[in-house]
């Protein structure tokens, strides 16, 4: 078990390195293959009125003339020991872990990411609680009342939920609940949890529900299918034969049996979301990792994009690891070797 975790952790670090190399290559190697020069890359950082000479100076200063390996090495070194960035009249220290320095905002990327992480975590975790409870409960009820009106209605709504994009549901709910009925807050409103937990929850209510709706739909369908399968298992009959109450049979025996695939999907979904709920954050203008990513991509701010990609990859890799570990907890037949 311990050796398994250690091996997986090492593998995670390797994975992240590979992701960082690929991301680096996409942004620095691919444009070069397409014919871009160091100056073309530097042009993004020097504004609209720069002369050719200024661009050249910038390219040199940003290190775009060095071999790619050297550039990547510098980036990787920055993560471990930090780096110094010359921003014109002065030099800014970017302490470890230095995930790059944006020459557009003149800010190191890491503090930005740390600053935005709580928003994304709040959004993802809150929504996750709602969608797991709502999705699983709906799925269980649908499975137990298979073919009933409830089942059909729930599954139709679930289909709609899965099919409707968040920028649509989000915008419609903002117009309806925030601007029409005025029962929820406007887009872009966020209060940190530590400032006021109640306001925090109230501000995030609509994004939570919208995001949860999308996921709950999928979880309801997944749970329903899983429950239909497990409720036909022999061990359910055994549980009933013991004289257990039906609710105990359904929850403790049936749902527990159907939980494994749900847990897998949940881990990956949550990992992906923690790396940035891009659509939800941009629809609701929430300053989280996802919005940061979209804005960075829009500005072609490569250091920021690199940083955000690595953070997203980190969460996915960690989520994978956690899911595999949880597997062993949920299903004792699984051995971690």
């Amino acid at each position: 078990m311990v050796t398994y975790i250690i091996r997986r952790l090492i593998w995670s670090v390797v994975m992240l390195s590979i992701v960082s190399i690929i991301t680096f290559a996409i942004f620095f190697l691919v444009p070069r293959l397409a014919g871009a020069t160091s100056e073309d890359l530097a042009a993004r950082y020097v504004g609209r009125t720069a002369s050719a000479e200024q661009v050249k100076v910038a390219a040199e200063k940003l290190g775009f003339n060095d071999p790619l390996v050297v550039q990547y090495g510098r980036f990787a070194k920055g993560i471990v020991v930090g780096a110094d960035y010359d921003y014109g009249p002065g030099v800014e220290r970017c302490p470890a872990p230095c995930f790059g320095y944006s020459f557009l905002t003149r800010l190191p990327v890491w503090p930005d990411l740390l600053d935005r992480l709580p928003v994304t975590i709040s959004l993802a975790l809150g929504a996750a609680v709602i969608w797991v409870i709502a999705g699983v409960a709906t799925g269980v009820l649908s499975a137990l009342k298979r073919g009933s009106f409830f089942d059909r209605a729930a599954m139709s709504i679930a289909l709609a939920g899965v099919s409707m994009p968040i920028f649509f549901t989000g915008m419609v709910s903002l117009v309806l609940f925030s601007y029409g009925l005025k029962i929820t807050v406007a887009g872009g409103t966020y209060t940190p949890f530590l400032t006021n937990p109640a306001t925090w929850a109230y501000d995030l209510l609509l994004p939570w529900i919208t995001l949860a709706f999308l996921y709950a739909a999928g979880y309801a369908r997944l749970t329903r299918a899983g429950m239909l399968e497990t409720m036909n298992e022999d061990y359910i009959r055994t549980a009933r034969a013991k004289g257990l109450r039906e609710r105990t049979v359904v929850v403790k025996h049936g749902l527990r049996g159907a939980l494994t695939p749900i847990l897998t999907i949940f881990g990956l979904d949550l990992g992906l979301l923690l790396g940035g709920a891009v659509l939800t954050e941009s629809t609701y203008s929430l300053p989280g990792i996802g919005k940061y990513a979209i804005d960075a991509i829009g500005r072609q701010d490569l250091p920021q994009v690199m940083g955000v990609t690595l953070v997203a990859a980190f969460f996915v890799v960690v989520a994978n690891l956690v899911v595999d570990l949880l597997y062993a907890v949920v299903d004792p037949r699984v051995r971690l070797v």
């Binding site: 504004g47 009125t49 910038a58 200063k61 002065g90 003149r106 601007y179 029409g180 887009g187 300053p287």
Partner: protein
């Protein structure tokens, strides 16, 4: 009871609005149909804020809420190059002169701000002197001197530190050789460019005559910066205010708040009402959400002033009640087609005339986005809001603007190409509207036998390597090229010089002027640059506009328009022509 009071107030404000419009001296008056819609909506009528103040009030207090779908290039006065930013910066920074905070054409007028009066030119218009008002202070109470203004301009020189800014001062002031700006050339004497004989006087020395230097003096780079508080590229995180508001909280990428600056003395400032207690600005907000919030009254201003998104357009236009709360100003941007006289047979004026006549301008308008979001059909170069604009239409493309096929064919015959000819049209591949416009031309010119082949090019190198490089354009027969221009300020120089002066065309490419080569036009430009009397100068710009149209080197498509939504909570709402959007200095909160 409540209701009648509100109606009464609404009616009163409507009356006030009409009165102000009359006093404002605008050349056009607000169309007053019945007054009923104004009273009912209480936000006035469609285009009501173009020429008059909607909801006039002197009530102080409240917080104005603004949002930006993107982010400022920079809040630093030395490093910002967006029109909305120049409009907004007047809240926390005072430049030597400024545009009046007033509706309609009055907004185009320059008025002293830090300075006691507009600039005093030398006879050759190469030296400009400004006297600063007494009693102006930074937010920390330090008095503002001419040296702070000089330092502000000097620091803005360094484009490595301030990559986003313009280069007007770099290019026109008589800097010492090899000057690199305030940071890298710390001890260099810059008196050859800017002199400060005393704390209240600043003198600019130019390399060439510049009759309109007052427009330079309104640029944010003349906003004073205290040298000991300057943090270079980081200064944008806390700009030291000279205006009525100062920065409270500033989170780059998320937003910032402005609060009252108690060191600002209204006695020194007749231009700013400073009604709200503060400003709450959010950046990187979803663009569609901004529209919805402004329409719902939850947000006051979309600060970029570039108009609503297509989604909101569909909600606003069909509903007269909603439409009444919007304005559709024509900005200072012209979308046009360059007609390259270097490419035969367009070297013949008659063939260029044929293009002008045959073009279906209504189709072009549709291609650019229609009447409200695209623009107004353009008949000449200078947009209506720029002084010097005159209504004329040299080549009338039919009474219905759909093209005059008969006259086009006559011109083709005169050109010796009675059956038409073939040429190419260049456009920027990333811009669907340019493509649509090029297709509209392909369609309408095809009616008289002028066959166009569409040639898309990447926009980053459009001017440097393709359409803007004379050799390439000629060799590849780019007879027509889609183009666009917006002036940095509402003045003939700002609008025309870069696109009609043949001397800006370089063989190495990169110029925005890719077709106008007329020595007479060049001569007229030189005259205008030396003419310090604004009225005479504007007359010359009119002449230049007409001459270029006579040459038929440019086919004007549309003057860009944007549909703006008026805040439901704001008072003193009006469009300032200088910025083509709502004036952020006058607005208050109900």
């Amino acid at each position: 009871m409540q209701k009648t009071t509100r109606l009464g107030v609404a009616a009163l404000s409507a009356v006030l609005a009409l009165g102000l419009a009359a006093c404002g001296g605008g050349s056009t008056t607000t169309p007053t149909s019945s007054g009923a819609p104004a009273a009912a909506g209480s936000t006035g009528e469609f285009n009501g804020a173009l020429t008059a103040v909607v909801n006039p009030s002197d009530k102080k207090g409240g917080i104005l809420k603004l949002a930006n779908a993107g982010d400022w290039d920079s809040l630093d006065p030395g490093d910002t190059y967006y029109g909305y930013s120049w409009n907004f910066i007047r809240l926390y920074g005072r430049s030597l002169v400024m545009f009046k905070s007033a509706p309609g054409k009055t907004g185009n007028e320059l008025t002293p701000d830090l300075a006691e009066g507009l600039g005093t030119p030398s006879d050759d218009a190469k030296t400009w002197t400004y006297k600063l008002k007494a009693g102006i202070k930074f937010e920390d109470g330090t008095p503002v001197t001419s040296k702070d203004v000089k330092y502000g301009v000097e620091r803005s020189f360094d484009k490595e530190v301030f990559p986003d800014g313009y280069t007007y001062f770099n290019d026109f002031l008589n800097w010492p050789k090899d000057y690199k700006g305030a940071y890298k050339s710390k001890d260099v004497n810059t008196d050859s460019a800017i002199e400060t004989p005393d704390d209240q006087t600043i003198v600019f020395h130019l390399k060439q005559p510049l009759s309109n230097f007052d427009y330079f003096a309104q640029l944010p780079a003349t906003i004073p910066v205290p040298k000991d508080k300057d943090t270079g590229a980081k200064y944008k995180e806390h700009v030291i205010s000279t205006g009525p508001y100062k920065f409270d909280k500033n989170e780059i990428g998320k937003g910032f708040t402005l609060v009252r600056n108690d060191q600002w003395d209204p006695a020194t400032d007749p231009n700013r009402k400073a009604l709200p207690d503060g400003y709450d600005v959010a950046t990187n907000v979803n663009a569609d959400d901004i529209d919805n919030r402004v329409l719902a009254g939850d947000l006051d201003v979309d600060v970029t002033g570039t108009g609503v998104q297509p989604a909101a357009l569909g909600r606003i236009l069909p509903d007269p009640a909603v439409k009444a709360g919007t304005d559709n100003p024509t900005g200072t941007r012209l979308w046009y087609t360059s007609i390259n006289g270097n490419v035969a047979p367009l070297d013949n004026l008659e063939c260029r005339k044929a293009v002008e006549y045959a073009a279906d301008k209504t189709a072009l308008q549709t291609a650019w986005g229609g009447e409200f979001a695209g623009g107004q059909i353009a008949t000449s170069l200078l947009p209506p809001s720029i002084p010097g604009h005159e209504d004329f239409n040299t080549w009338v493309p039919g009474a219905d603007n759909k093209g005059d096929v008969t006259k086009a064919k006559e011109a083709l015959t005169a050109c010796g190409q009675p059956n038409g000819f073939e040429t190419n049209i260049a456009y920027r591949a990333e811009r669907p509207k340019e493509k649509a416009a090029a297709e509209a031309l392909q369609q309408s010119l095809g009616r008289v036998g002028i066959k166009l082949t569409l040639k898309p090019f990447p926009q980053t190198d459009y001017f440097a390597l393709y359409a803007g490089k004379p050799g390439y354009a000629k060799d590849n027969k780019l007879g027509l090229a889609m183009n666009g221009w917006q002036s940095d300020w509402p003045d003939g120089f700002g609008f025309l010089q870069q696109i009609v002066d043949s001397r800006v065309i370089r063989d190495t490419g990169g110029s925005s002027n890719i077709s106008v080569r007329d020595p007479e036009v060049d001569k007229l430009i030189d005259q205008a640059m030396e003419q310090t009397d604004p009225n005479s100068r504007n007359g010359i710009w009119t002449q230049i506009d007409k001459k270029v149209m006579d040459d038929a080197y440019i086919l004007p498509n549309v003057w860009a328009k944007a549909l703006l939504v008026r805040s439901k909570n704001a008072t003193n709402v009006f469009v300032n022509d200088a910025y083509g959007m709502y004036d952020y200095l006058g607005m208050g909160v109900k």
